[in-house]
């Protein structure tokens, strides 16, 4: 009976309906009136555009060694004395256009932030579901590991992992996943425990639905909102963590600089007065993370007041 009802419900809700429902929701009502959340969304969209179609618009592919010439090294921004219009934000040590590098770097930063988040989210959610649903030894093992890990700051764990595994995008993703899964596991476990006690789960259990189906079809959708809030904010924090690691020299490889590595590259000449090479990439990190946090903050307040 219950199974049937749920099935019918989910089938009947088509996309259009959902959208109009969304537009009438309280969430959307509050969203429209929250300037920070809107600004955050705009920033995120701009950055996503930059990472996807940006490379088609910028004057240079900074990874293509044929295109860059060292003779153009350290050109100041266009408005400064000696600046050139084709290098709007100036160039770096190899004659790479800073604006183009930022566009390509945003791509790397966002890729790492989002992929790292996805891995953490999937692994953490699965472990949290398993721990919460089955309880017992599995639960205490997973939660004990989570406890131990939470007593150490994530940046420090990631720094340690990177310093022994060496720089590289794969290593970074591994490090970020290893520090990122815990928060999902904890939240999802809590939500699962709460959900498990509810009547409808008891009901589907009675009708003999296999465990995995209960987990993924019935419990997972209910822990989805808290997960999505965490995920949004985590992308921002991963972008920052990656930038910090790259700055310390244990992040992405030099041939594919992220925004953080661009800052580090420019750092070497910042105090010599060549300020543009590090100032602009840093500003872009700040804007990106700020945008994510503005939206994430709003979402947390709206969707999950418990997490405040």
């Amino acid at each position: 009976m219950t199974k049937l009802k749920i099935g019918v419900l989910s089938a009947s809700v088509n996309a259009e309906n959902k959208w109009s429902q969304f537009l009438q929701s309280e969430f959307y009502f509050n969203y429209k009136r929250n300037i920070a959340a809107i600004a955050g969304t705009i920033l995120i969209i701009l950055f996503l555009l930059m990472a996807t179609v940006g490379p088609l618009l910028v004057p240079q592919n900074p990874y293509n060694l044929q295109e860059i010439s060292i003779l153009d090294a350290y050109k100041p921004p266009a408005w400064a004395e000696d600046g050139e219009l084709r290098y709007l934000l100036g160039t770096d040590s190899q004659g790479r256009d800073i604006l183009s590098s930022i566009v390509y770097g945003t791509r790397v930063s966002l890729f790492i932030g989002i992929t790292g988040m996805l891995f953490s989210c999937i692994i953490g959610t699965v472990l949290g579901l398993v721990a919460g649903f089955f309880g017992g030894k599995i639960d205490s093992l997973i939660m004990r590991i989570a406890d131990i890990q939470l007593s150490f700051p994530a940046t420090l764990i990631a720094l340690f992992i990177m310093s022994i595994s060496g720089r590289g995008i794969v290593n970074l993703l591994i490090a970020l996943t290893l520090v990122g899964w815990v928060i999902y596991a904890r939240t999802v476990r809590g939500a699962t425990l709460a959900e498990k006690k509810k009547e409808y789960i008891e009901a589907v259990k009675v009708i003999g639905l296999p465990n995995y189906k209960i987990l993924f079809k019935h419990i997972l959708p209910n822990v989805f909102t808290s997960t999505i809030v965490i995920a949004t904010i985590q992308v921002g924090s991963f972008v920052l963590t990656e930038a910090t690691l790259s700055f310390l020299g244990v992040g992405v490889p030099v041939t594919r600089p992220s925004l953080g590595l661009l800052v580090k590259n420019g750092y070497d000449v910042l105090f010599s007065g060549l300020w543009w090479a590090s100032t602009f990439p840093g500003l872009f990190i700040m804007l990106l993370v700020f945008g994510i946090n503005m939206l994430g903050d709003f979402m947390r307040d709206e969707l999950n007041p418990r997490l405040k």
């Binding site: 920070a36 131990i148 007593s151 150490f152 700051p153 940046t155 420090l156 720094l159 340690f160 310093s163 022994i164 921002g236 920052l240 930038a243 910090t244 700055f247 310390l248 020299g249 244990v250 953080g260 800052v263 750092y267 910042l270 105090f271 300020w275 590090s278 100032t279 840093g282 990190i285 700040m286 993370v289 700020f290 994510i292 946090n293 503005m294 903050d297 405040k308």
Partner: protein, 321 residues
């Protein structure tokens, strides 16, 4: 209660033991430290001799056995680079880091609590909203970039602040402190500001959230109705109720500050243990990295222990299990 403390204590030791195993074995798979030490034109015989001298010719398990035995004596091996006890090196650098950490905490408390109280008490005001947005920006700032910019503006361009190091130091009961000299204090300001931004933002938001909860409660309304001064209401009645969770969460924040001190110390050439860690990573100075991680783990585990105790102490509703 006693039983709980013992249980927590056992847990602490277990965590440290696990950390020591992970750290030691993982470190063993990294670059060969011997080749760093011998001259470029060393022969194989010299390389072998150096390896034996450092005890690196033994099997891994034996090396860990020796390491663990020494660990119990508080000896984590000698730094390859400094030829001195690694743990002594860390302890030597500790005051510098703690000074920085404590000063940052003071800055964040002094700014975050009043601002948080204000923003929580008058959440609708434009200034409160600005404060909240600024705190969000504070969380979004790349820490290292802020440090660079601070140096660039205040030390390089304006030349009003020193750009690196600790400045004059005086020794008080065996602790070398720079905070007590004018020159030292001046050196401390920029790094401490950089380090405090994140925790300031977190603390501010926490205080505000707590204040908003408390302000809704009856006793505040009651005090208001009685005509008590706003200041009295905010700081005497409301803040007192907010402070407890704030302090406990702040314990965890200290751990984060210690971790981020590695970045700050690297940028400001602050001679603390965080910079020692980064330098040692660059030098493949394994014993120092191991010692740092164990010492810091110890600090964190103790910190968590006390936060937990405090929490249970303050709020008797918490189940001791």
């Amino acid at each position: 209660m006693i039983k709980y403390i013992f249980k927590r204590f056992y847990h602490m030791i277990l965590v440290l033991f696990i950390v020591s195993i992970i750290v030691f074995f993982v470190m063993s798979f990294t670059g060969d430290p011997v080749l760093m030490l011998v001259p470029l034109d060393a022969t194989q015989a010299q390389i072998d001799a150096a390896r034996i001298e450092l005890g690196l010719d033994q099997p891994l398990l034996v090396q860990y056995g020796i390491f663990l035995k020494n660990l119990l004596r508080g000896d984590l091996g000698n730094s390859y680079a400094f030829k001195q006890s690694a743990i002594k090196l860390i302890i030597e650098r500790m005051p510098a880091t703690f000074e920085l950490v404590v000063f940052s905490i003071i800055i964040s408390i002094f700014l975050a609590i009043p601002l948080g109280v204000y923003a929580g008490a008058y959440p609708k005001k434009r200034s409160s909203k600005t404060i909240m947005l600024a705190s969000l920006l504070g969380i979004s700032l790349p820490n290292f970039w802020v440090g660079m910019m601070l140096i660039f503006i205040f030390a390089v361009q304006l030349q009003v602040m020193p750009s690196f190091g600790r400045g004059d130091i005086i020794e008080i009961v065996g602790l070398r402190l720079s905070i007590l000299t004018k020159d030292g204090l001046k050196h401390l300001i920029l790094p401490a500001v950089m380090l405090s931004i994140q925790s300031m933002a977190v603390l501010l938001r926490l205080t505000r959230a707590g204040m908003m909860e408390v302000m809704k409660q009856d006793f505040i309304k009651f005090a208001r109705a009685k005509g008590a001064l706003t200041r009295t209401i905010l700081f005497k009645h409301a803040l007192k109720n907010v402070l407890i969770p704030v302090i406990t969460v702040f314990g965890i924040q200290i751990g984060k500050i210690i971790a981020f001190a590695t970045v700050t110390e690297t940028i400001f050439a602050w001679p603390g243990m965080g910079k020692l860690l980064i330098d040692s990573i660059n030098r493949s100075d394994r014993p120092v990295i191991v010692a740092y991680l164990l010492v810091v783990s110890f600090i964190f585990v103790c910190l968590n222990f006390f936060v937990d105790l405090m929490y249970t102490f303050i709020d008797p509703r918490i189940d001791l299990r």
